[in-house]
């Protein structure tokens, strides 16, 4: 019994210690972000790596999610004679929830894991040490650009996901299922508020981008510099990011809506 307690206590102590390390890491990250203003080219490169490269999977997923939503919404609403509201339902679901959350999960899996693997590998091949010995701060040159790129890219990708989802919904709802085009768009416009729905969705995207990038970069920088260490760090990034996104989504939804 005492053995179990010991291990339990050690586990929690270790977790708290890790969380503390991660927080100090975040503080250093923020310091590095300020110096990015002088060197924006690093940011463009990372925006390309995180944003542009994740674009295709986000657009394809968004399209399919929008189409499925329209299909399911139609099947349910037609029982109440309210099939005109398909547009409303698709748009609200996407903009408020699925846009930021699904994009966040896709981002964590694609860009987040790539960031962790890349940084972990840099650590394992002593590139980070090399940078330090050349009097270059890895926070400024390696970590901060990736962090800022993630924070910026995720809400943008979420907006694109929602937009193409709504278009996909139109494709299925109006073109295929026969919902009235005017009703689709006008009822949608009446029910989606720019400030409380679209903007809140963007805020969610920002928060998710912050958390996913933080986790991804920290795991990479903190990993054990062996191939096993890098691989488990990458896995941890995806798992923790996903859990964080879902948990934060609940909190944010409760606060915002």
């Amino acid at each position: 019994m005492s053995d179990f307690l010991q291990r339990f206590g050690r586990f929690w102590l270790g977790t708290v210690e890790r969380l503390g390390r991660a927080t100090l890491f975040l503080a250093q990250l923020m310091g590095g972000v300020f110096s990015l203003i002088k060197r924006p080219s690093l940011l463009w490169k990372q925006l390309h790596a995180s944003g542009v490269m994740t674009l295709s999977i986000v657009l394809v997923s968004g399209l399919f999610v929008g189409m499925v939503l329209a299909l399911q919404a139609f099947n349910t609403l037609i029982d109440f004679g309210q099939e005109n509201r398909v547009g409303s339902l698709v748009a609200l679901t996407l903009v408020r929830e699925l846009g930021p959350v699904v994009t966040g999960l896709l981002f964590a899996g694609r860009a987040g894991s790539a960031m962790t693997a890349e940084i972990g590998l840099m650590k394992a091949t002593e590139q980070l040490s090399g940078l330090e010995m050349m009097a270059v701060d890895p926070f400024k040159r390696v970590f901060a650009p990736r962090f800022l790129a993630g924070v910026i890219a995720l809400p943008m990708l979420a907006a694109m996901f929602s937009a193409i989802g709504v278009l996909g919904g139109h494709l299925i709802g109006v073109e295929v299922l026969g919902v009235d085009k005017g009703a689709y768009w006008s009822l949608m416009q009446n029910s989606v508020s720019f400030t409380s729905d679209v903007c809140n969705g963007l805020i969610k995207g920002l928060v998710f981008g912050f958390v996913v990038s933080w986790i991804a970069i920290f795991e990479g920088a903190d990993c054990i510099p062996t191939s096993e260490g890098v691989s488990s760090a990458t896995t941890r990034t995806v798992v923790y990011s996903s859990l964080a996104i879902l948990g934060l989504d609940f909190l944010l939804t409760a606060v915002m809506f």
Binding site: S129, G130, A135, V136
Partner: protein, 279 residues
């Protein structure tokens, strides 16, 4: 010479280490290590694997902090420097990592130019000039556009050396430079290290367990074991040393003061069971 008061005979000291203590987790790596690294010479730190030789280099470079003791480089106490001052000091030191540690997303040229671009506002033409000079010195001017993935291990190290030299540092540290090299690359590296040291008036500090190579180009040797300095001196002095331990190390004998068998219970007992011990 007694280990803990090692003093070089020629010239002032560049790096002075006193009573260094350092532990990694529960393992004590240094227990009161003291050594002086002479200026302008090639010094090699020798010792069995795992004695913390690389850790020592990292501590001199300020990447790790000692729990007790002091490291003074060119008059500056490394442990007490603030971030900005530490970075200034690092610009005057070059370090060659075991794998070269070149940045994988840049070409060889860009890698060598990297410190110049980061720390100075030099015009492109001047940067190009300096970089090509260094690359020529290590014999890689023709490889300037290759990416690090396309280089062999030896070439990568030479490129890293060119990068370390770009600011004309006062000291270069080499972490296991000879490990895993074929004889020709080895010869090239040896030649480079000693030429660079003499031509540029540097201090070279190497960490290695490749005995012959190290002894062939070093002016001064420091042997570390069990967290303290065991023996220091020039290669000839060490060869003439009467310490059994040093002799085992130098001659590569498998058994001696450093035993072949790691500590283990009695073999007979383990094989045949407790009853055999009472027989």
């Amino acid at each position: 010479m007694t280990p803990d008061t090692a003093m070089p005979e020629d010239g002032p000291t560049l790096v002075q280490i006193r009573d260094l203590h350092f532990s990694r987790g529960s393992k004590r790596i240094f227990r009161g290590l003291s050594v002086d690294i002479p200026r302008g010479k090639v010094t090699t730190i020798l010792g069995p694997s795992g004695t913390g030789k690389t850790t020592l280099l990292k501590m001199i470079g300020g990447q790790l902090r000692a729990s007790k003791g002091s490291i003074i480089v060119d008059g500056l106490e490394v442990g007490k420097l603030k971030r900005g001052q530490l970075y200034e000091l690092r610009k005057r030191m070059g370090m060659l990592f075991q794998s070269g540690a070149l940045l994988t997303d840049l070409s060889v040229f860009e890698n060598v130019a990297y410190p110049l671009r980061e720390h100075t506002d030099m015009p492109e033409a001047l940067i190009s000039h300096l970089v090509l000079m260094r690359l020529h010195a290590v014999g890689l001017r023709g490889a300037r556009d290759l990416s690090p993935a396309e280089l062999s291990g030896g070439m990568a190290r030479r490129a890293a050396l060119a990068r370390a030299l770009v600011f004309d540092p006062m000291m270069i540290m080499y972490d296991e430079p000879f490990t895993g090299q074929d004889p020709i690359s080895m010869g090239v590296l040896l030649e480079l290290i000693s030429t660079v040291n003499t031509a540029l008036g540097l201090t070279s500090l190497m960490v290695s367990h490749d005995l012959e190579e190290a002894m062939s180009i070093s002016d001064y040797l420091v042997i570390i074991s069990a967290g303290v300095v065991v023996e220091t001196g020039s290669p000839d002095e060490l060869r003439a040393s009467t310490s059994e331990w040093v002799q085992q190390f130098l001659q590569g004998r498998p058994d001696g003061p450093v035993p072949f068998q790691a500590a283990a219970p009695n073999y007979e007992t383990e094989l045949l069971g407790e009853s055999s011990a009472s027989r």
